[in-house]
């Protein structure tokens, strides 16, 4: 997409050889996010959130000029791997920021961490790297996938749901979310359905849901999948007979397409645009001003990621050569998160509060997730004990 290139038109193939030389920038950050297909808006939010932080600091982090190289993984593992390799080998970046989806993260994980480049996930938080396979070169500034669903299970208990129909896409994060929900939900999971990632036509699933006799559905359908599901759910008339609760399904990336169909739906997460704190109010206002839409958690996490990198570089005085020092500085998380309290656990996944959220319509006619109340405080993931860092 917005690829910033130093390769001139006349230099052709052998300019590749010279790519190590003649770079004016001090810090290279490579980004691998999904900018194609149904979830493209998610990747765009990450790019925008990160760029906002850079713009606010006039293109510098801790005094270092930043070159940001954005690559689209097209939601294909092999493409993600190819792009990550290009960033490491050809561009020799200092940080890789990515990805949106957990299966993309799994594809790029090995080459990035083995090249001893820091990999910071601004969204994907698979269980895979939270436990035994935690890695000194990997940080997640978002959450661990299971957590949002675990909190949803708690909310479902409070709401008194007895039978819940669970549906998620069939990939790492989908399975993590189902596991998380099952872990805390005390009622009966009436059915568990997995769809392909990128699924668009939910009519067969809706038929199953309609005959399942459930009080509510819990789902995780990020991006375009969520838009389709909610609209088809509404069209099929199911909104009248059951409640809808979800994570990353009715959020700022999907609400512009769902509109009134989603109002009143329940969600869980570590943040909402109206989360009451000063840093957050400033961030949301600046973001809306810059990009003309309400930021979602993806943009927020990317914004926090940029601030985290800056805090680490400030601590090392801009020195990237001592990896241990950089790691310790990242680990300290010495920045102001717009989520409020934020720290890293031993496995480099965050410890943070989780809240009950609800979809509301704002006075200006726009839709967003709204903070209801905090359900879990300083909530750590369930895998960190297995990590020996």
């Amino acid at each position: 997409m917005t690829k910033i290139k130093h390769l001139g038109a006349g230099t052709l193939a052998f300019s590749l050889l010279a790519s190590t030389a003649a770079l004016a920038e001090d810090l290279k950050i490579g980004m691998v996010v999904t900018l194609s297909g149904p979830p493209a808006a998610l990747g765009q939010q990450i790019v925008d959130g990160f760029q906002l932080a850079l713009d606010q600091k006039e293109g510098q982090l801790a005094g270092l000029g930043v070159e940001l190289i954005v690559e689209d993984d097209e939601l294909k593992p092999d493409v993600a791997l190819l792009k990550a390799n290009t960033l490491i080998e050809r561009e020799e970046v200092d940080f890789v920021v990515g990805t949106v989806f957990s299966n993309m993260l799994q594809a790029i994980f090995k080459p990035v961490v083995e090249s001893e480049t820091f990999l910071i996930s601004p969204n994907a938080g698979p269980s895979t790297f939270a436990g035994r396979n935690c890695n000194p070169y990997f940080f997640a500034t978002s959450y661990q996938n299971n957590q949002n669903a675990e909190v949803s299970g708690l909310i479902a208990n409070e709401e008194g749901f007895e039978n819940v129909f669970v549906m998620a896409p069939n990939y790492q994060a989908g399975r993590d979310n189902v596991d998380g929900f099952r872990q805390t939900f005390e009622g009966t999971v009436s059915d568990e359905v997995f769809t392909p990632l990128g699924h668009q036509d939910f009519s067969a699933e809706l038929a199953r849901i309609s005959t399942s006799g459930s009080d509510a559905i819990f789902t995780f359908m990020p991006g375009g999948m969520g838009v389709r599901l909610v609209n088809q759910f509404d069209e099929a008339g199911l909104s009248e007979t059951m409640r809808f609760m979800s994570v990353f399904t009715t959020d700022e990336t999907t609400l512009p397409g769902q509109k009134d169909a989603a109002v009143g739906f329940l969600a869980a997460g570590s943040w909402a645009p109206d989360l009451p704190n000063e840093a957050n109010a400033a961030f949301v206002a600046a973001f809306e001003e810059a990009y003309g839409y309400i930021p979602g958690s993806y943009a927020m996490q990317a914004y926090d990621t940029a601030n985290l990198i800056e805090s680490a570089l400030a601590a090392t005085g801009g020195d990237m050569s001592d990896k241990d020092a950089v790691r310790d500085a990242l680990r300290a998380a010495d920045f102001t998160s717009v989520r409020g309290d934020f720290s890293f656990n031993n496995n480099h996944y965050p410890v943070q509060d989780f809240h009950k959220l609800e979809i509301v319509k704002r006075e200006d006619g726009q839709f967003h997730t709204s903070f209801v109340r905090t359900v879990a405080e300083d909530y750590a993931d369930s895998f960190h004990a297995e990590c020996d860092m």
């Binding site: 997409m1 900018l35 194609s36 297909g37 149904p38 493209a40 808006a41 765009q44 689209d72 097209e74 069939n170 989908g174 399975r175 189902v178 568990e192 359905v193 997995f194 769809t195 392909p196 668009q200 036509d201 009519s203 067969a204 809706l206 038929a207 199953r208 309609s210 005959t211 375009g224 838009v227 389709r228 088809q232 069209e235 099929a236 008339g237 199911l238 007979t241 397409g257």
Partner: protein
């Protein structure tokens, strides 16, 4: 499987099958009549979807955008025929594959450049937006029923044209003995062009009616093209009737197969595993069917007589 689910799956399968028929109809004629392998036929489907998106945006009305999109799809098809394809008719099949592969690459990228890599969608046209009560708990969208109706109407119209009109007769004759038709004073080049244009427009039409239901994205025509090839092989190359039967068959097998296979696998594996293995096995069904047809009945279910390919 509940009756509701079965009914929905059958409707979905029928709808998918008719969509496939619209694409396969053009493909099978172009392949049968001209012996031309056009891999770029699938992008016409994508072109149709993007056209309706663009024209709906411009005019604000689906009803207005529909004829505009159809005309534009026809124009784009004829333009491609004039600029590239007509030079390939006399070439070996491999050259046709390669050149039309190049066209796919180009148009997919062009769609990405013009409209962005994001998936786009358009709203169901207002006059078809409601839903009808199918069972006590469930409604089924009118638009989907409408696509089934329109698909059937086009199929009947096409079949009647091929069977009973002069041009249809020429097409049938052209697919059997092009030299003879030419010798009788018919302009075969002109005939080819008409067939090509209509085929492109039908594929575009499929893209148009699919747009409000499925995602509009670059590359959306690639996989459906392969399925359309499967359809015309199963049906018999050059045979409209065969394409119709095969398309419905493939649509139903694929849609029902997915659900049944997943249920079947759930007996052996957990839900996640079953949902991985089931759809994969179901996706194989139509290819197994095609391979079986090729081995045991190479001319297809309802072969056209004496096709050149």
């Amino acid at each position: 499987m509940s009756l509701t689910l079965f009914l929905i799956l059958c409707l979905n399968g029928l709808q998918y099958g008719l969509l496939l028929f619209l694409i396969a109809a053009g493909l099978t004629l172009v392949f049968g009549v001209m012996g031309f392998i056009n891999l770029a036929h699938g992008v016409q489907y994508m072109v149709g979807a993007y056209l309706i998106f663009a024209f709906t945006g411009l005019t604000g009305s689906f009803a207005l955008a529909l004829p505009l999109s159809l005309l534009a799809a026809l124009a784009i098809g004829l333009l491609l025929e004039y600029a590239v394809f007509r030079h390939l008719y006399a070439r070996p099949h491999l050259d046709q594959v390669l050149a039309t592969f190049g066209i796919i690459i180009f148009l997919n990228e062009l769609a990405k450049v013009l409209f962005g890599p994001t998936t786009l969608s358009i709203e169901t046209p207002a006059f078809l937006s409601g839903a009808i009560q199918l069972t006590e708990q469930l409604r089924y969208p009118v638009y989907r029923l409408a696509t089934i109706g329109v698909g059937l109407a086009v199929a009947i119209g096409l079949f009647a044209t091929i069977s009973y009109t002069r041009i249809g007769m020429l097409v049938r004759a052209g697919s059997t003995t092009p030299e003879m038709v030419a010798a009788l004073g018919v302009n075969v080049t002109q005939l080819f062009r008409v067939v090509f244009g209509v085929g492109a427009m039908l594929a575009g039409f499929a893209g148009i009616i699919a747009a409000p239901i499925f995602a509009i994205e670059p590359g959306m025509g690639d996989n459906i093209l392969i399925i359309a090839f499967v359809v015309i092989i199963i049906g018999g190359v050059g045979s409209i009737g065969g394409a119709f039967v095969a398309a419905i068959l493939v649509g139903l097998i694929d849609t029902l197969g997915r659900s049944v296979a997943t249920d079947l696998m759930s007996l052996f594996f957990g839900p996640s595993m079953a949902n991985q293995v089931g759809p994969a096995l179901a996706s194989m069904l139509i290819y197994i069917l095609m391979a079986a047809i090729l081995v045991f009945r190479p001319k297809g279910l309802l072969p056209a007589k004496g096709v050149v390919a």
